[in-house]
Symmetry: C2
Subunit: 297 residues, 2 copies
């Protein structure tokens, strides 16, 4: 029996829910990793952690149409179910839930979950409605899978914070587990969208994380000398550096409080922040890359 | 031991959820009646049915601030916990969940459930945001109480349909049970807000349901002779009747498809409707009364 024989692939929300009820009745704990598929090592780390923590690991693969804007890459988003199933099996996954859009959004679908102010800045400002689409599908998946724990990577840090908030606000009984961003050896944050990059673009891409790390170091150095420091100048300077480093444009580059995601615009508010979140989105050709660093100052 | 000793009163969502997990683990089925308290016979009928169907009956009493508009009666809404607990005990209720607003909406609360087009007409048009507030609190209560069945009265028919849609759209694993409107002997739909009525107003109030019943009969009679029938004239005529019958104003009076809640504005679309919903909201002094009839033509 190969690993693939042990994995259960389901597409019906009702069947998935029934399976989970059965698992729960037999005393099992459910670890859940919601994904859009096209797995890389980052996804697999989440799955291994879910499996180790809970014993039962459920992964959803669903490219969720309602979190993409009309001009975004929903149709082009990379998909490879066969490879994903092999990788999931190698990570010890028990169930893959892979619904079709019609299974999730019937003809009368009309109720949505609306994220609040945590969703408004950063990627939310560039992608209106994106986080409402994410919250809606994650709420649905939570109700279908009924997980004890759900695992999210910190590469999508704003998404993680928005989902933690949603889970608390709507009283979902699930622990949201933060997991470190998985990176290539050269520091590039792993992403399914990295497959869009040409060889040339791929060689430029790691400079994004390098810049974020330099920004973190620089903020650490100036923390005792804030008066002479201009945060807007600092950000503008790194934007220019990124563009001269080969990125086509900078969608945003911002410093914020890591809990509230409230933007920090002057150096005096740096010290009041409970933690620091530096986040950016940059374009390399048509590809939009996001990355961040989260740290205590 | 009096009945009151057997009822458990809880205010903490976490404790409530734990109690329900315990009940579920011991194999019990949970019937749930969400309310704003100030019980009348209509509430008690829902409780008795929940108890009979499920064995365990949970009632929530929560005057939900986010479903009231700024000029509405949130502060004045009638409350009487002591009487409610006695009545609930007499109906066989096992748990009363009675949180404070702060238990439900902490300082960082910001995620909401947004109802769709079913919520836009009728009471939704007069009370912007009302059904989003209802859906948000009911989603929270479903996650806290984890009911098998949830019971709603048909007096708030639009609310019932909106919640059925929400439960399906967000994959809540709960059966929403429709229950007939409880009425006084003279036909007035029972409502906690009826306590606002003066003796004079109370004597006028039953004419609302009388008018709805007449409208139902009249639509039944004309169903074979639709061509000569003007639906807008029909509605205007009944609006005038209500006002000359003593009501101060008619907020709305409409005929719709009972499933889609799409308004029926001409007589030819009457025959295409899967069921008929005639609904109205009228003012008697400062009191807003709603009522409806739902039937097959």
């Amino acid at each position: 029996m190969s690993e693939l024989d042990t994995i259960r692939l389901l597409s019906s929300p009702a069947e998935m829910r029934e399976e989970m009820e059965r698992a729960r009745r037999s005393g099992r704990k459910i670890g859940f990793v919601p994904t859009m598929g096209f797995f890389h090592e980052g996804h697999l780390q989440l799955m291994r952690k879910a499996k180790a923590d809970c014993g039962l690991c459920v992964v959803s693969i669903f490219v969720n149409p309602i979190q993409f804007g009309p001009s975004e890459d929903f149709a082009a988003y990379p998909r490879d179910l066969e490879s994903d199933l092999k990788l999931a099996a190698s990570a010890g996954v028990d169930y893959v839930f892979h619904p079709e859009p019609d299974d999730m959004y019937g003809p009368h679908f009309q109720t949505s979950v609306k994220a609040g102010k945590l969703s408004e800045n950063f990627c939310g400002a560039s992608r209106p409605g994106h986080f409402d689409g994410v919250c809606t599908v994650v709420a649905k998946l939570f109700n279908i899978v009924t997980p004890d724990n759900a695992y999210f990577g910190m590469k999508d840090y704003q998404q993680l914070v928005v989902i933690e908030r949603m889970a608390a606000d709507l009283n979902f009984h699930v622990r949201v587990i933060r997991c470190e961003t998985a990176r290539e050896k050269d520091g590039l944050a792993m992403s399914s969208r990295n497959c869009y990059l040409s060889a040339k673009e791929r060689s430029i891409a790691p400079r994004f994380h390098e810049a974020l790390n330099q920004m973190k170091m620089e903020l650490g150095i100036i923390k005792n000398d804030k008066n002479s420091f201009s945060l807007s100048g600092f950000l503008a300077n790194y934007s220019i550096k990124l563009k001269s480093g080969g990125f086509d444009s900078v969608d945003y580059l911002k410093v914020a409080d890591a809990s509230t995601l409230e933007e920090i615009s002057d150096s005096s508010s740096l010290s009041r922040a409970s933690g620091i979140f530096i986040a950016g989105a940059v374009y390399l050709g048509r590809t939009r890359l996001i990355d961040n660093v989260v740290f205590d100052l």
